[in-house]
Amino acid sequence: MIACAVQQSGRVELYFYGELEQEAAAELRSHMSDCGECRRALEELTVIRAALATRPDICEPADGDWTGFMERLDDRLQRERTARAAPVREFRGALPILSPARRLVVPLSMAALLALATTSVFYVARSRPMEAPREPLTADVAPGGLGPSTWSAETGFASLSEQHFERSKLVVLGLINKDPHGASPADWEYERQLASALLSDTRLYRQAAEARGLTRLARVMSDLELVLLQASLSRTPEPETLEQIQRLIQKRDLVTKMNVVARAGP
C-alpha cells in the first residue's frame, strides 16, 4: 500500500523520466532523502529500466524479411486505389477490416432503408388519384446525373449518416453542456460509454465517406471521431479533460457542422 502522498502523486515517475522542472526536481530529491517509499519507487524504476533494456529490439518481421509485409501492403494499397477510382461500386471493399457481422451492418441497414423507402413510395403512389398532377418525389430525382441504383445507395448512405449524426449529437451536446467541475463519476462513465459505442461506427462512416469522395462529410466525421475518441479514453471525470473536449468541440464548431451537413446532405 502506498503511504506517501508524493509517491502517490506520480512525481517520482516524472522525476525519473526527466519531466519535472528543476525546482520541483530539487524538492523531490530533498524529500527522497527522508522518504524510503519514494526512494524505493525510484530504485524500482531503475530495475524496470535495466530489465526492459535486456529485451531484444524488434523492428522487423519474425524472419527478418520484409517481402511478405510489403506484398500484403501493396495488395491493400491496390484495393485502396481501386476504391478511389470507383468509390460507389467498391464501397464495401473500401471498408476497414471488420468482423463479418460488423461488415454487414451498413449494407443491411441500407437495404432495410431502401426497402422502407420503396414501400413508402409504393403506398404513396397507390393512394394518389391517377389524374392528380405528378409532383416529383425527392427519391425520384437523381442529382448530378447519377443512375437510379447509384442514387439509391447515395441516398441510403446520406440518410444513415444523418441518423448517426442525430445519435452522436446527443453525446456531443451532453459533453458540451456538462459542468467540468460538477460531473459525477457515474454521469461521466455514462457519457464515456456512449462515446465509445459510437466511435467505431463514426470511423466506419468517415472511411466510407472518404472512399466515396464525400470530403465535407468525411471531415465532420473525422472531427466527431476525435471528440468521441478523447471522451472514450478518459476514464475519470477530470475537469481539465472535459474542458479540453469542450474546447475541441467549440474550436471545430462541431455542432454547427453536424447540423449543416445533416440538413444539406454530404
Binding site: Y17, E43, L77, S234, E240
Partner: protein, 190 residues
Amino acid sequence: MAESDLITRAAGGDPTAFQALVERHRAMVYRVAYQFAGNHHDAEDIAQEVFIKVYRSLDRFRQDAQLTSWLYRIVMNACIDHRRRQGSAASTPCGEDAEQRLVNTPKGGPGPEEIAYGGELGELLQSEIAQLPAGQRIVFVMRHHQGLKLCEIAEALGLAEGTVKRQLHAAVHRLRAALTAANVTAGGRA
C-alpha cells in the same frame, strides 16, 4: 531523395515514392507496434494499418511538420484502434498469465540485477506491459521506449497532459506491483 520530395511525389500518387517512404520508416513503425503488441502478428497488423492511414491522409500532411511526429501520432492511434478492435477480453500474447509466472519464479534464485540482466525479469515485465490497458500501454511505450515527452504524447492522442501523466503513473504502479509479486525489490530478492 529528400524526404519532402518523396512526400510530395507520394501524395501526388507516385507508388514508388510511397514505397520508398514506407521502406524508410517501417522499422520505426514496426518497433513501436511490437513494443505495444508484444507479438509479431499484431505488430504487423498495426504496421500495415499505419501505412494505409498514411496513404489515405498523406495529401493532408503539412510539409512544415515533422513526418516522424506525424507518424508517431498515427502509430499511437493505430495501436489503440487495434486494441479496441480486439476487444477488452482479448488474450495476451503470452500463454501463461504474467502474474502467475511471477509468483512461480523460484525463490532463492539470483538477485534483481542478475534477473534483470539475465532477461528473465525483462520477459516478465514485457508480458505485464502487454496486459496493461491500451491507454496506459501506449503512454508507457512512447515515454519509456521511444523517449517522447508527455506533452508530445498528450498532443498526439488529443488528451490533457494530466491524463497522460496519470496513465503513466498507473502503468508504472502496475509494473512495480509485478516486481513485488516476483519478490524483487531494488535492494534484492525478498
